[in-house]
Every structure is written in structure tokens, then in C-alpha cells.
């Protein structure tokens, strides 16, 4: 038996091993990234793809279960108490859910990476201060603080985006600080210092590129956390407010009808879970590939 890459295949065992490594595994690798790409596309072009307008009410078609047909047409996921097509409202919610998730995570990343690098590189008082802050942050009941915050300042998309980075920056800071400490001792950083590079220069040119991969993996995980947190706040009514819509808000909207129209609560939750699952699975693939997990 001949294989182009291997020359002679010695026996059945090798053939099986090769098959396992082949196209099936490649396809598997692409699945979760494809899901994320699909969601992003949905967020960007959703309005065009939605079968109906998310705000179009049709009282005659209220609370229809999935796969039902109304005067307007086919409703894949059913309708809500005002007759709005659930699928369309879910698509409409995609944009804001992903936007808040991405933005808040990004802000948290910038803060966390910045503080982490400073703490790791300069050490001393800066390090202690940053670590104390991070500790205090994780020791606080963030959820309750968030409720207080949003009550005082008023719930809105803007306030949610301002608040949520507080949830994630400690994780970034800790990771980057540890990596910076490790990298600080390497030869090429010492060389850079010897040739007169300033701290910020070294951080930007040497340390940042090296922490980037692990930060990227953490980012993927944290986007999931932020999305879940936003869903929680919106569900409780202190996050995003109507007419804006996110998946969390949709779940809240469906809650009073749980006994008669279970799909209103279930479907947005499934979509949210799918999105977060995609991020988590993607992160796991990275970790397995880089060998830092199994």
C-alpha cells in the first residue's frame, strides 16, 4: 500500500492511524469557529436575514408554538404574546448581545493587560497595588455591586458596558503579570535593557507579543463569561432596557409565559448557550493544541 506522504504504509495499523488524522479531524476543527463566524455575520446582517420584522406585532398570531403557521407565514420558533416572530427577535438580539460581550471584554482586556504588565515589570509598590485591587475585585460579590451600580446610575447599555469589564480585568491582569514576570528574566529582555530601551518600549515590543497567544485564549473564554453576566443583568431588569433587545432580555420577556409558551424562554437560552459554548470549545481546542491541557 502506498501513501504519498509516507511512502510505503507498513500495515493495517498505520492505515487506520492515518485515516483518523485525515479529513474528518480537519472538519471537526472548523466547526466551532464556523459557529462563531455565523453568529457574527448574523449580528452584522441580521435585519436582512430575519424572516419578519422583530417588532411587527400580530395579535391574531400570539403565542404560537414552533413550526406553526400564521396568516403571515411560517414561524420556525413560534411567536411571543404580541405575535412577534421569535426567530426574528432572537436575530435582532444577536447584535447587541455580541456587541456588549465583545466591547466589555475588550475594555477589560486593555485594562487587565496594561495593569498586569506594569505590575509584572515594575514590581514593588505598583505590583502590590494592582494585586490588591484584583484581589479586592474578586472578593466582592460583583453581582450585588452591579445591581447597586445600575440602580444608582440607571440601567442602560452604556452603563452595562462600563461595569462589565470590572468582572474580567483581574483574570487578564493575573495572567499577564505571571507571564511578564517570567519573560522579564529572559535573555533578550535583558539585552534590550542593556541597549537602552525604555520600559514601555520593552513592554510593547517584547513582552506584549509573547503574552498575546495566552491572552487570546483567555479572551475567548472571558467573552463567554461577560455574555452570561450581561444576560443575567438584563434578565433581572437592571441591564439592557427596551426597546434595545438582547437574549437575556428575551428570556425575561418570556418568563411570565413559561407554563404556556416554553419556547419563549428556551430558544433564546439555547442560542446564548450555543454562542458561549462555541467560545468555550474554541478555547479548549487552542489549549489542547498548544499542549497546555488535554
Amino acid at each position: 500500500m502506498l501513501d504519498a506522504r509516507l511512502g510505503r504504509i507498513e500495515d493495517v495499523e498505520e492505515a487506520r492511524a492515518l485515516a483518523r488524522q485525515g479529513t474528518l479531524s480537519r472538519a471537526g476543527d472548523l466547526f466551532w469557529p464556523a459557529v462563531i463566524v455565523a453568529l457574527v455575520l448574523l449580528a452584522l446582517t441580521g435585519d436582512a436575514l430575519a424572516p419578519y420584522s422583530p417588532t411587527a406585532q400580530d395579535v391574531g398570531a400570539r403565542l404560537l408554538p414552533p413550526f406553526a403557521t400564521s396568516g403571515r407565514g411560517f414561524h420556525l420558533l413560534g411567536t411571543d404574546p404580541l405575535g412577534r416572530d421569535l426567530l426574528s427577535t432572537m436575530i435582532a438580539g444577536t447584535r447587541l448581545s455580541l456587541f456588549i460581550g465583545a466591547t466589555a471584554t475588550f475594555i477589560g482586556l486593555v485594562i487587565g493587560v496594561g495593569l498586569g504588565m506594569a505590575a509584572g515589570y515594575y514590581g514593588g509598590a505598583v505590583d502590590r497595588l494592582v494585586m490588591r485591587l484584583a484581589e479586592a475585585q474578586t472578593a466582592m460579590p460583583m453581582f450585588l455591586v452591579a445591581i447597586l451600580f445600575l440602580v444608582v446610575l440607571g440601567p442602560s447599555v452604556f452603563n452595562v458596558i462600563v461595569l462589565l469589564p470590572a468582572l474580567v480585568w483581574p483574570a487578564f491582569a493575573r495572567l499577564v503579570r505571571a507571564e511578564t514576570l517570567r519573560l522579564r528574566e529572559t535573555l533578550y529582555v535583558e539585552a534590550a535593557v542593556a541597549t537602552g530601551c525604555t520600559g514601555p518600549q520593552i513592554l510593547w515590543a517584547h513582552i506584549l507579543p509573547n503574552v498575546a497567544p495566552r491572552v487570546a485564549v483567555l479572551t475567548v473564554i472571558e467573552v463567554g463569561h461577560v455574555m452570561l453576566a450581561e444576560a443575567g443583568l438584563s434578565f433581572l431588569g437592571i441591564g439592557v432596557q427596551p426597546p434595545d433587545v438582547t437574549w437575556g432580555l428575551l428570556i425575561a420577556r418570556g418568563r411570565p409565559y413559561l407554563a404556556v409558551a416554553w419556547w419563549l424562554v428556551t430558544m433564546p437560552g439555547v442560542l446564548l448557550g450555543l454562542a458561549v459554548l462555541a467560545f468555550n470549545m474554541l478555547a479548549r481546542r487552542f489549549e489542547v493544541a498548544s499542549g497546555s491541557a488535554a
Binding site: 466582592m140 455591586v145 453576566a229 443575567g232 437560552g269 488535554a294
Partner: protein
């Protein structure tokens, strides 16, 4: 590796915890009195600017901020968190009444999660790559990808519509505990499973694990005598930290879903009523509890670590 003796560490940790709590108090104070305006919040919607200004002067909100804080802090130390605007009685007792319910729910959920996640996670890590591992892996990653309040809603839907076995709202007896505790246990048990699996797997890759296998010892013996001895500290502290996480958010949302009379439910009610004193009090009390738990877990880990070193 540890510069301090365990005793010293305990003292330091407690001191740190107190410092964090102080910081929390400052932050809450600033949020409330610095950023926000209690006078406006507490006034009826149709109040005139003069009425609000009067209220402000009445509450002493026109004094410098640090003066207000000292006053505020002094009251705190005496247990005076102000009076609830809704129930017309001191805020602190209201919060303290709700606290035991939260404790009951979270403790039960933690035990469930710890057992489920700990046992399954260890087995999954021990037999990494097996069908059991791959199946539970996907399930647990899915479990940590969904919001816990949504899981609660699904359970209610199933219980209310189909099974009708357990109550889905309020506290009417021990059965009320089941659904909310299971809800929390699903998500947190999932995460414990993943972390414990990871730790166990790492132990299995260590050379002594291979040596144990080379001796021809049965799997059960290897797991019990060799692996668990080295992972137990990690598992215990994972569960501890997961508790802190639980208090950080999920527990309160689940309380609201099940109308469980704990601190989370209390806070949402207070939020809807703009009952500012109760809000502040709840955050600080819960904060104290979380800080204390965090410190306890850290101390526990340090003590267990010390004992292992000596042994």
C-alpha cells in the same frame, strides 16, 4: 516557597480581608453618595427641585464627602445601616433575615456540586480519553455555557408542566430547596468537574503514576492510594473557590427565578423600590460574607499545604 509560617499567614490574611472589606465599603459609599444622589432616588417622582434640595440638606448630603464617609462608617460599625424606605424598620435586620436562606441554598448546592463534580471529574481525569470522559466532557462544557437562571427556568418548566413533584417558588418547606439547589449544582458542578478532571489528569502524567502502573497495581488502588492523595488538596480548594464564585452572581439570579427569600431576591425587590439603605446594607453584608469565605478558603489551603509538607 511560603515565606511565612501558617500562623503568620492567618493573621496576614485576616488583615487583608479586613482591608478588602473596608475598600468595599468605600466603593459602596462612593457609588451611593458620590456618583449617585440618594436624595433624588428617595424622593417621589413628582418632587420639586426645592423639595429634593431640602431632603438633601436634611440627610446631610451637602457636607464634604469625607465627612459624610466618617459619619457613614461610624454608623456602620454600630450596625446602623439606616432604615428601609419600604418596611420602615432598620435595614440590617432585614438583610440578616434573608442571609440564612441564601446560606442554606448555596451550601446545599455546593455539597451537591462538589460531590457530583468531584467524583465524576476525578474519574474522567483518571480515564482520560475514554468514552466516559468524552461524554461527560461535552455535557459539562455545555453546562457551564448556559446561564444558571435559564437552567432554573427550564427546570421549572419541566416541573410545573410535567412532573409537578417539587415546588417552584418561595419557601414552603424542604422540598422547595430541591429545584433551586439542583439548578446551581448543575452549573457549578460542571465547572468543578472540569477543574478536577484537569488536575487529576495532570497527576496521571507524572512519572510516579507511570511507575505505579508498571508495578501492575490495579486501577482502583492507583486511584485511591496514589492519585487522590495528591489531588485532594486541589479538589478541596477548587470547591472552596467555586463557592466564592457562586456567591459572586449565579446564586442571586437563581434566587430571583425561584422567588427564594434570600439576599438576591431581597436586593432585586429593594432595587425596584429604590430602597437605598437596604441595597447598600445587603451589598456590604454579602460582601463581608464573601470576603470571609475567600479568606477562609485561602487559609484552609495554606494549612492543608503546610500539613502535607510536614507529613
Amino acid at each position: 516557597m511560603h515565606a511565612q509560617s501558617p500562623g503568620r499567614f492567618v493573621v496576614t490574611r485576616i488583615r487583608d480581608g479586613a482591608g478588602i472589606l473596608l475598600l468595599v465599603t468605600v466603593v459602596i459609599f462612593l457609588l451611593g453618595y458620590g456618583l449617585g444622589d440618594p436624595a433624588t432616588l428617595m424622593s417621589p417622582v413628582d418632587a420639586t427641585p426645592e423639595q429634593i434640595e431640602n431632603l438633601r440638606r436634611l440627610l446631610g448630603l451637602d457636607r464634604p464627602l469625607y465627612v459624610q464617609f466618617i459619619d457613614y462608617f461610624g454608623h456602620l460599625l454600630r450596625g446602623d445601616f439606616g432604615e428601609s424606605l419600604w418596611q420602615y424598620r432598620p435595614a440590617l435586620p432585614i438583610v440578616l433575615e434573608a442571609l440564612p436562606f441564601t446560606l442554606l441554598l448555596t451550601a446545599t448546592a455546593l455539597v451537591l456540586a462538589g460531590l457530583l463534580g468531584g467524583i465524576n471529574g476525578t474519574l474522567a481525569g483518571f480515564w482520560a480519553g475514554s468514552r466516559f470522559d468524552r461524554a461527560t466532557n461535552f455535557l459539562t462544557v455545555a453546562a457551564v455555557s448556559v446561564p444558571s437562571f435559564w437552567v432554573g427556568l427550564i427546570l421549572i418548566a419541566i416541573a410545573a408542566v410535567r412532573i409537578q413533584l417539587f415546588p417552584t417558588s418561595g419557601f414552603t418547606g424542604w422540598q422547595s430547596l430541591v429545584l433551586p439547589a439542583v439548578t446551581l449544582a448543575v452549573v457549578h458542578g460542571g465547572r468543578i468537574h472540569l477543574l478536577v478532571r484537569s488536575a487529576t489528569f495532570e497527576e496521571m502524567t507524572k512519572p510516579y503514576a507511570m511507575v505505579a502502573r508498571s508495578k501492575g497495581l490495579p486501577d482502583r488502588l492507583i486511584l485511591w492510594k496514589h492519585v487522590l492523595r495528591n489531588t485532594s488538596v486541589t479538589v478541596a480548594t477548587t470547591i472552596g473557590w467555586e463557592y466564592v464564585r457562586m456567591l459572586g452572581g449565579a446564586a442571586f439570579a437563581v434566587e430571583v427565578v425561584f422567588a427564594w427569600p434570600g439576599v438576591g431576591q431581597l436586593m432585586i425587590n429593594a432595587a425596584n423600590r429604590h430602597d437605598f439603605p437596604v441595597l447598600q446594607c445587603a451589598v456590604i453584608v454579602a460582601g463581608a460574607f464573601v470576603v470571609a469565605t475567600n479568606a477562609l478558603v485561602d487559609i484552609g489551603y495554606r494549612l492543608m499545604d503546610a500539613r502535607l509538607r510536614v507529613a
